[in-house]
């Protein structure tokens, strides 16, 4: 392949190889002063095929169903190590990706404003880069040194009356681990420093030693309540790499279950926000409704978390088998959902707490590459379902919702709008199934993965866009699998959203984003 040539791999995916001196310029061109979106950024260790280390930056542009991928080749070996030109000064959304690349591959972003370690907590000696392909799991384990754990580099806020509140990693509730440092003045949070990646499980490297079929199980376990979205995005990537199109029934079932997952998450999240304001009855109602949906999940797929359904080439459960019965359940849930939302919006004491809490401006959301509910509640119209129609979404009539204000209230109401939309999509698919308009196989017989293939896969999960990049080696086995969870984009928003709020509102604001630790930590 000639240098700098743009070639098409799949219908909406183009790769363009550039040299280090062109990298910044090319990324800036695609970023288009903030009109373009950086979807993900990652490195690949291709030394064994003689191509050295490469860096991929994936961009898309609103209104265009196209992913433009810049591939940086020939990284420079300098005295301090191997470096690449940082794009963070121009594209702030790149900041975490570049730090992650530095930790995992030992490639240093030159010109990054804050190149501190992100993922590994100093648990390994310098020079250990887990995602390099010439070091094994066992070798890395042998080098682990827990005593070296280093969490010291917190941002210090100085001034009269400012004090620090450290929280975690083991929290008071039944939630995931992370360490937070609040710098507060009285009750008001001035700054929040969040140290994450406590649940880092080496997932990306684990993918490399599994087969593509087996990898589904791992994708399902990236983040518990996004099990289906993650495995769907993963399968999507593998199928695109293999160049196969799914039968209509398989596409409809995946779409159906993606919406069912969104629904139980959104309803659960709306209920959990009540826990954030101490509104126990709202919380209980939300939990009941969520539990009912989990029961439906189990009845349809055998799993409360919709696991074991996705496979490259389709689905393993014919979820649309009894559309009439499922339709009755969904109708019942719709009624309960409506009265739940009416009840909540009528509860002034609860709703008042949401108003103006945890404001996230559109500018910050855009600059940091926010996704999903967090982005749409701050006025950014970004929904993979409509921007890049896939599965059965192109055949459905629905709109993606936005709210303008960016506070907890907007995030709650946006979820309410989207849950109603999901219910409508579920019903529409069930009606079509009832009318026998979705007949066909639920999976392809087999999916042949080509050697040296690569592709992106994506879905709109409950928390926002989820991307997977997969590539295969000469043997047709996984060479690189890079998941990009929605929460990886949204965690950096937190310090901005809590700034100026009172400490007791933090749980509420946190719940309004409902970010995944495990998905982001990977």
């Amino acid at each position: 392949m000639a240098e700098n040539e743009t070639y098409k791999l799949t219908d909406n995916e183009t790769y363009r190889e550039v040299a280090p001196e062109e990298f910044r310029q090319e990324c800036a061109r695609l970023f288009d002063n903030g009109r373009g979106r950086l979807r993900m950024m990652f490195a690949v260790d291709s030394r064994e095929t003689g191509e050295g280390f490469n860096i991929y930056a994936v961009f898309s542009h609103p209104g265009k169903d196209l992913f433009e991928i810049v591939v940086l080749k020939d990284l420079e070996e300098k005295e301090g190590g191997i470096t690449f030109p940082s794009i963070t000064p121009k594209i702030p959304a790149a900041h975490w990706y570049e730090r992650q690349i530095a930790d995992m591959f030992g490639l240093l972003p030159e010109g990054h404003p804050d190149p501190a370690p992100l993922v590994l907590h100093g648990l390994y000696p310098p020079g250990v880069y887990p995602l390099r392909r010439d070091i094994s799991h066992d070798q890395i384990r042998g080098l682990l040194d827990e005593d070296k754990e280093d969490l010291s580099s917190f941002m210090k806020v100085k001034g009269e009356g400012i004090y620090e509140i450290p929280v975690g990693p083991v929290h008071a509730g039944i939630i995931e681990p992370g360490h937070f440092r609040f710098s507060a003045v009285g009750e008001t949070v001035y700054y929040l420093d969040a140290r994450l990646f406590f649940t880092h499980k080496g997932v990306e490297k684990l993918f490399e030693r599994m087969g593509f079929d087996e990898g589904v199980k791992l994708a399902e376990r990236l983040s518990g309540v996004s099990s289906f979205a993650h495995s769907a995005a993963y399968c999507h990537a593998v199928e695109r790499m293999a160049g196969v199109a799914l039968p209509i029934r398989a596409r409809a079932i995946r779409t159906f279950l993606l919406e069912l997952e969104r629904l139980y998450n959104h309803i659960g999240d709306i209920g959990n926000m009540c826990a954030g304001t101490g509104f126990a009855i709202g919380y209980a109602k939300g939990a009941l409704l969520k539990e009912r949906l989990m029961g439906l999940n189990e009845r349809l797929t055998g799993s409360r978390y919709l696991r074991g359904v996705n496979a490259p080439g389709g689905v393993l459960a014919d979820v649309l088998e009894n559309p009439a019965e499922t339709l009755r359940t969904i109708e019942g849930i719709t009624g309960q959902y409506k009265s739940f939302i009416e009840f909540l919006t009528g509860a002034t004491s609860h709703m008042e707490r949401l108003d103006n809490a945890g404001l996230l401006s559109r500018e910050i959301a855009m600059a940091l590459g926010a996704t999903g509910v967090a982005a749409r509640a701050s006025g950014l119209d970004d929904d993979i379902r409509t921007a890049h129609p896939h599965l059965y979404y192109g055949q459905l009539v629905f709109e993606s919702h936005t709210r303008m204000k960016g506070d907890v209230f907007s995030r709650m109401m946006l979820r309410a709008d989207e849950a109603a939309c999901s219910l409508a999509i579920l019903k529409s698919i069930l009606h079509k199934a009832k009318g026998k308009r979705l007949e066909g196989d639920i999976a392809l017989p087999a999916v042949e993965v080509p050697a040296l293939g690569r592709a992106l896969g994506y879905v709109e999960g409950p928390r926002g866009s989820i991307f997977y990049y997969v590539s295969s080696g000469r043997d047709g086995r996984p060479f690189r699998v890079k998941p990009r969870a929605a929460s990886f984009c949204n965690w950096p928003l937190m310090p901005f959203a809590v700034h100026g709020n009172i400490v007791p509102d933090f749980p509420l604001i946190n719940k309004s984003f409902n970010l995944s630790y495990s998905g982001s930590d990977a």
Binding site: H121, L123, P130, H137, D138, I140, R141, L144, E146, E149, P169, V170, A172, G173, I174, I175, E176, P177, F197, F198, T199, H200, K201, G202, V203, K205, L206, K217, L218, R221, L222, S223, G224, V225, S227, A280, I281, A284, K285, A287, L288, K290, E291, R292, M294, G295, E298, R299, R304, Y305, R307, T329, G332, Q336, S339, S516, Y517, S518, D521
Partner: protein, 178 residues
Amino acid sequence: MLARILYNIIGRKQALPESELNAMAGEGDILMAAGLKPGGMGRIFRRSVRIRQVDAGSCNACEWECTALTNPVYDIQRFGIDFVASPRHADILLVTGPVSAAMANALRKTYLATPGPKLVIACGDCARDGGIYRGSYAVTDGVDKVVPVDAYIPGCPPAPARIAAGIMKIIEASSKIK
């Protein structure tokens, strides 16, 4: 208890239809069906058991099932079992996740902060032996590699009723020994 009262209040208007509940539970009350008995805590803990849940790097599905135990459908509090915020108040550590390298120290400290007599339950397949993450450079392959474990609850994730039944069983078993 509060959750029970709440359930009675809101249940009147919007109770789950019996068929749905039964579908989830098998028959009748889900936790009773799973073997839980009110006041059945045995000698060690009497009628009250306090649990500190520790996420040691799980995928988060296990925590959601633990959380579900406190919702009005399961309402585990009515059996004298509740989740607490501090290990200092806990009788049981319910640990989920394969124990990521970054959480090993925190788990050890939590264990030391829990007063005896105490029980440790490894909840979920990955807490037992690393599960799907087994062998990864970033995990320790199970809770018992880091702190002593008294019981394991299998499943990925174990359903809420299964977690509750597991907790009950280990309480009963340890009461008999001592």
